[in-house]
């Protein structure tokens, strides 16, 4: 393979890097003395341009490749996931428009784009070195994005916590992967699986496997590796938190599934009820069970919406793990549908939180009081996001859950081995309705705060909500609704893509 061909396959990522450099350059050289709002607009425009160029390339150039020992594997499934990642990035950029937490506009957008590059490489990697490198590229960018609110102590604390936990988790992953490499002598996932055949009970393999799982468990915020999530979500500037909750989560889940199902094929074991066999399946089953229970129960007690969304994200990670556990084409299809729609929903919810934060100064539950009358449109969108997260039809969250659960139960049709996890998941999502309704109760039922003293001052000083933010949130809500009513729009493309990807 020559470099020209390689450049062709990696062109979307290259375009994003160029855009990132462009944002930096433009902001540094030309926009230095312009007002912040203007700089934000230009930065966002350049970033979106990069994303659109990459999207255009993905859509127009046929991409089927298996290059460099699996470092770059492109097929229609990775295409779909990459497109969703680009879309999520665009929306993240747009909801950043109203923010006023930073003077370093160029660096902010450049980091978002670099994180996207990391995630995109992550999606197309089937080789453990490449997976690790792109994971680090994405993570490091996200650490900095978390710390971007320089004047806020919470932001710094959150970033430090995220960074410390993250680097330990990365160390675990690296150690685990090196053990696996030592065992198999290969870095390509397929070859690892071939080399590991028949060594299921090997303690070294188990050690390597569990360490790898720890690293990914941290990325997707599964219990007990979730401790960073609530602080990072709450402390980070809201658009950064939105990006961590959406893009990063979707990409991590995708690669997690790939590593487990391709790399450790044959070391599944079994997580079926009363039929546990050592392997990665029982480990994931336990992670899933704990995430669902703890995430949902802890979310009940939260009084800050960002924190609440963090715990709900932990719970959703628990549900999504069922998709990996299913270990079949249906499982992957349901997993991708679930995490992609979840990412859109979480992004939209954070978009509304960002608006509320800009107008009231904080994101406590009580700051949402009376939003239904102040901002009927955004409130309605928030209702769609919350109900979709709770799994109310006809929204995407409901169908995602149904599909995921049907796939999980179908994994072992005769004995219904995974039914115990599905029952737990459904019971816990019944619990989750309570705290989502708490948010909606503030929005629609609670009386709006009286306009006196400080609050009216805040209102006056806050920047107006840009129409683009409204548009972005509205489009996200529409996507959730349409994908919920017509899931075949996505499923119809997913099934053949997964077939061709050979997962």
């Amino acid at each position: 393979m020559n470099y020209l061909e390689l450049l062709k396959f990696a062109a979307p990522e290259t375009l994003l890097v160029i855009a990132a450099l462009g944002v930096l350059g433009v902001d540094l050289l030309v926009m230095r003395n312009e007002p912040a709002r203007y700089r934000l607009m230009v930065g966002a425009a350049v970033s979106c341009l990069g994303c659109f160029a990459a999207t255009f390339w993905l859509l127009s150039v046929d991409q089927q490749a298996h290059a460099l020992n699996g470092m770059l594997v492109l097929n229609s499934l990775t295409l779909l996931v990459k497109l969703s990642l680009l879309l999520l990035t665009v929306f993240t950029v747009v909801i950043s428009l109203d923010s006023n937490f930073t003077q370093h506009v160029g660096e902010y957008f450049a980091l978002i784009l670099l994180a996207t590059v990391g995630m995109m490489f992550l999606v197309s990697a089937e080789e453990i070195l490449m997976i690790f490198i792109s994971l680090e590229l994405a993570s490091l960018s996200l650490y900095i994005l978390t710390a971007f609110h320089k004047k806020n102590l919470q932001s710094a604390e959150a970033a430090l916590k995220y960074f410390l936990f993250g680097s330990i988790a990365a160390a675990f992953t690296l150690f685990g992967l090196s053990l696996i490499y030592g065992l198999s002598g290969a870095t390509n996932l397929q070859e690892i699986a071939n080399a590991l055949k028949g060594r299921t009970a090997d303690p070294l393999l188990m050690a390597g496997l569990i360490m790898t799982v720890i690293g990914f468990g941290f990325k997707v915020a599964a219990v007990p590796f979730h401790l960073w999530a609530p602080d990072a979500y709450q402390g980070a500037p809201t658009p950064s938190a939105a990006f961590i909750a959406s893009g990063s989560k979707a990409a991590s889940f995708f690669v997690f599934a790939k590593v487990m199902m391709l790399g450790f094929a044959g070391a599944e074991g079994s997580g079926f009820w009363r039929n546990f066999i050592p392997g990665w399946a029982p480990v994931l089953a336990i992670l899933a069970a704990f995430s669902m229970v703890l995430g949902n129960l802890a979310a009940i007690a939260q009084s800050n919406v960002k924190r609440l969304l963090a715990y709900s994200a932990i719970a959703h990670a628990g549900y999504a793990l069922l998709g990996i556990l299913t270990d079949s084409q249906q499982g992957v299809s349901s997993l991708v549908y679930y995490v992609v729609t979840y990412a859109f929903t979480a992004l939209g919810a954070f978009g509304v939180v960002a608006v509320v934060e800009n107008t009231t100064g904080d994101s406590r539950l009580t700051d949402f009081a009376g939003l239904g009358r102040r901002e009927p449109f955004l409130a309605f969108c928030m209702m769609i996001f919350m109900l979709s997260l709770a799994g109310i039809p006809p929204l995407a969250g409901f169908f995602g859950k149904f599909y995921l659960f049907a796939a999980a139960v179908g994994a072992n049709r005769d004995k219904l081995g995974l039914l115990w996890l599905v029952i737990l998941a459904i019971a816990m999502s019944a619990v989750s309705l309570y705290y989502y309704l708490q948010v909606l109760k503030q929005i629609y039922v609670a009386a709006p705060p009286t306009h006196q003293g400080s609050s009216s001052l805040l209102m006056a000083s806050s920047t107006p909500i840009s129409p683009l933010t409204r548009l972005a949130v509205g489009v996200l809500a529409l996507v959730i609704f349409v994908l919920g009513c017509m899931p075949d729009l996505l499923l119809g493309r997913l099934a053949p893509a997964i077939q061709s990807a050979g997962l």
């Binding site: 109310i392 169908f399 459904i426 109760k441």
Partner: protein
């Protein structure tokens, strides 16, 4: 035609979003027109449906092809009966909420989306679609109560929402498991009903799904949401709750749990019958000692819905058709009772304490309300000539064949029913306490025209069905011969 009941409701919701927020009158009229269109479609479908029509397909389109889920609307005699009930309840409910001024636009938007969901449940013959509509109805209920309710509204609303959601979570487990076990990649009710599920599977799936649905029907001991929710709800919402939402639960239990898992039903028949009878007697006895007027009606709903559930598990045509008839009858009568208590009395006196109402001499102050309430009470007690009599009699006959002991206790429930109804009637409207001084400085605002029309419609409905029950029974009874109930018939039921 019938499908337009659903579409018109959601079109109405959309139309309401275009109405200006400070124009409650426009919102009201939009909602009323929408509900009238729905009622017209329901009546049209009802008239078109003949005794020998069987299951009439309304719409069948592929929806989610990869999972074999269809958008399948159809109707049999049971569906059209309940759709008709929903149509009547929807229109009357709007007439009784004519005085809503606070955020009227949102009120009617939530109201109509609830109605749309209810129509959808009654017309779905695809299990997945049915479940979608069933869950769709949960959220509007929450907001209707939490925003426009009274007494303890946020508690009542949350309790109702969580109970409903837990019930539907149980149903969802059963649904997912049944979909996978059948392995046919279909959620068509007819196809699933003809699939012989293994007996061990039915043994646990049946109670899960049946109770999941029956929670919403007020099955004892999962009924506690009902009084709390009814009392907290605004008048129109409690009319809908008791009138149609509780029927959703009973309908789901009949349509899904019983047809899919007939063997499981045989196993659990006695246990569920027992719970139903306890509900009948318990609800009636608790109603006997309530101080709040609305709690009396709330608990009476639990008692009357017990008859529906008892009728369902008798497994003979008399009992089953009695149960369906009771759904219709109780929908009308409970609506009427809640209309009198919530709208005619409470909105004027601002109290529902029977002790305080005693001193107000309502019999003279609100003559129309008192006459309406007498008729409603008489109907509720099950006097011949009203729909409740035919329905409960059929259930009792059915129960006598299936389990005589339960029939005796259910009969006892009727007797207690007479007692609590007479007590409420006497305390509220015909107190013999000497009214010492007129406490209220100004007289009550007179009963308005919409209230009169609404009351008259409901009274007429219960009378017509009471005097000529074959109007409904001729459609209901043949429905049990449809292929949907084949498995149940083969299993020794019916």
């Amino acid at each position: 035609m019938l499908a337009w009941t659903i579409y018109s409701s959601f079109i109405g919701v959309f139309a309401l979003t275009l109405v200006r927020a400070n124009n409650p009158r426009a919102a009201r009229i939009t909602a009323l027109l929408t509900a009238l269109v729905g009622l017209a479609a329901a009546v049209g479908g009802f008239v078109q449906h003949k005794a020998d029509s069987g299951i009439v397909t309304v719409t069948k389109l592929p929806w989610i092809k990869s999972l074999g889920i269809d958008y399948y609307l159809a109707a049999d005699g049971i569906s059209v009966t309940l759709v008709l009930l929903t149509g009547i309840a929807a229109v009357v409910g709007i007439l009784f909420s004519w005085n809503i001024e606070n955020r009227a636009k949102e009120f009617f938007a939530f109201y109509l989306s609830l109605i749309g969901g209810v129509y959808g449940v009654f017309l779905s013959f695809d299990l997945f679609l049915l479940f979608v509509f069933y869950e769709l109805a949960i959220i509007p209920k929450y907001f209707l109560i939490a925003i426009w309710g009274s007494t303890n509204k946020e508690y009542g609303a949350m309790k109702l929402a969580l109970y409903s959601f837990i019930g539907s979570a149980m149903v969802l487990i059963g649904l997912v498991a049944a979909y996978v076990v059948a392995g046919a990649r279909t959620t068509d009710l007819l196809a699933l009903a003809s699939f012989p599920f293994p007996e061990s599977f039915q043994y646990w799936a049946f109670p899960l799904v049946f109770i999941g649905f029956a929670i919403l029907a007020g099955l004892w001991p999962f009924h506690t949401w009902a009084p709390a929710g009814h009392v907290a709800a605004p008048t129109a919402a409690s009319m809908l709750l008791a009138g149609v939402v509780m029927k959703l639960g009973a309908y789901g239990a009949l349509r899904v749990a019983m047809t899919l898992f007939p063997l499981g039903l045989k196993e659990w028949q006695v246990e569920i019958g027992f719970l139903a009878v306890v509900g009948i007697v318990y609800g009636a006895m608790v109603a006997l000692v309530q101080k709040d007027f609305k709690f009396v009606i709330g608990y009476s709903s639990v008692s009357h819905m017990g008859f529906v559930l008892l009728g369902l598990v008798t497994l003979n045509t008399v009992g089953l058709s009695g149960a369906v008839l009771q759904m219709f009858s109780h929908g009308i009568i409970a609506g009427l009772l809640f209309a009198v208590v919530g709208r005619m009395v409470y909105d004027r006196t601002h109290t529902r304490e029977l002790g305080k109402l005693q001193e107000m001499d309502l019999g003279r102050a609100l003559p129309f309300a008192s006459v309406t309430f007498i008729i409603a009470s008489v109907a509720s007690m099950g006097l011949p000539g009203f729909s409740g009599f035919v329905a409960e009699l059929q259930v009792l006959i059915g129960a006598w064949h299936a389990f005589p002991a339960f029939a005796l206790f259910a009969g006892l429930g009727i007797v207690i029913g007479v007692a609590y109804t007479l007590r409420a009637l006497q305390k509220s409207f015909f107190s013999d306490i000497e009214v010492k001084s007129v406490k209220h400085a100004r007289p009550f605002e007179p009963i308005s025209t919409p209230e009169r029309i609404g009351g008259a419609v409901l009274i007429a409905s219960t009378l017509v069905v009471g005097l000529y029950p074959r109007l409904l029974l001729d459609l209901i009874v043949p429905s049990f011969n449809s292929p949907l109930f084949d498995a149940l018939r083969k299993g020794g039921g019916l």
